[in-house]
């Protein structure tokens, strides 16, 4: 059971993030929702990388008889974090522009071209 807690936490983070995006009306809060989803996915990846008894794959510092883990999920997570930062910066700059034009952060104020 205790080993499943990270998986439950990852699923919970994703659902909380989706809830924030769908039901919050403030653009900044919706952005926070996206980062929560991202943390959930990253947590999930990191959890997949853990194996019982394995140690961190640092070649020089490892004891001779230990089993090192295969560091692919960690590499994926790092890449995903870097991409996440870029996307976050871009979205924030969009929000800055939108706020400058309309003095509003309410998501309902943007759009509605079809009505």
């Amino acid at each position: 059971m205790i080993a499943n807690i990270p998986y439950i936490a990852a699923a919970a983070l994703i659902i909380i993030g989706l809830y924030t995006i769908i039901f919050r009306k403030n653009l900044i809060k919706m952005l926070i929702g996206i980062t929560i989803i991202e943390s959930g996915v990253n947590l999930f990846l990191i959890t997949l990388g853990y194996r019982k008894g394995g140690i961190a794959p640092i070649f020089t510092g490892a004891p001779a008889e230990s089993t090192m883990m295969f560091p692919v999920p960690q590499a994926l997570t790092l890449t995903s974090i870097v991409i996440g930062v870029a996307v976050l910066a871009l979205m924030l700059s969009f929000i800055v522009h939108m706020y400058r034009h309309t003095k509003s952060l309410d998501v309902r104020k943007f759009g509605g071209d079809d009505q």
């Binding site: 989706l18 995006i21 769908i22 039901f23 919050r24 009306k25 919706m30 998501v107 309902r108 943007f110 759009g111 509605g112 071209d113 079809d114 009505q115």
Partner: protein, 118 residues
């Protein structure tokens, strides 16, 4: 490379076929026939007579610019009769990003139901 014959191959569509080049030749021939028939016509058009006026009764013509049918006036009959479906679709297209994500979640949920996972 590609040979010339290959260019004019008939395009097989399973049960039918389609050869654009033949179609084009037939089109040109039909056009020529129409053109020849047109040549038999009687040229009785006279410029500057009452024949060329828009209204035979001599009513004044309105301004040309105001005679252009604007795009939102086109297909008004279709729009009017399909109002129920258009209004429903319009109310879905809110332009709100939260709703876009909500639709994504709904589609995912429907697919889960479809496959029988829930």
């Amino acid at each position: 490379m590609i040979s010339i014959d290959e260019l004019f191959n008939t395009f097989n569509t399973g049960n039918g076929f389609w050869n654009p080049v033949l179609w084009l030749i037939a089109f040109v021939i039909i056009f020529l026939i129409i053109y020849i028939i047109r040549g038999f016509g009687n040229n009785s058009y006279k410029k500057g007579t009452g024949q060329t006026q828009v209204f035979l009764s001599g009513n004044p013509e309105s301004d040309f610019e105001s005679m252009h049918v604007k795009s939102s006036n086109l297909y008004w009959g279709w729009t009017e009769s399909m109002k129920w479906i258009i209004d429903a679709l319009k109310s879905i297209h809110t332009g709100n990003v939260s709703d876009y994500v909500l639709w994504f979640v709904i589609v995912m949920g429907v697919l889960f139901l479809f496959v029988g996972l829930i």
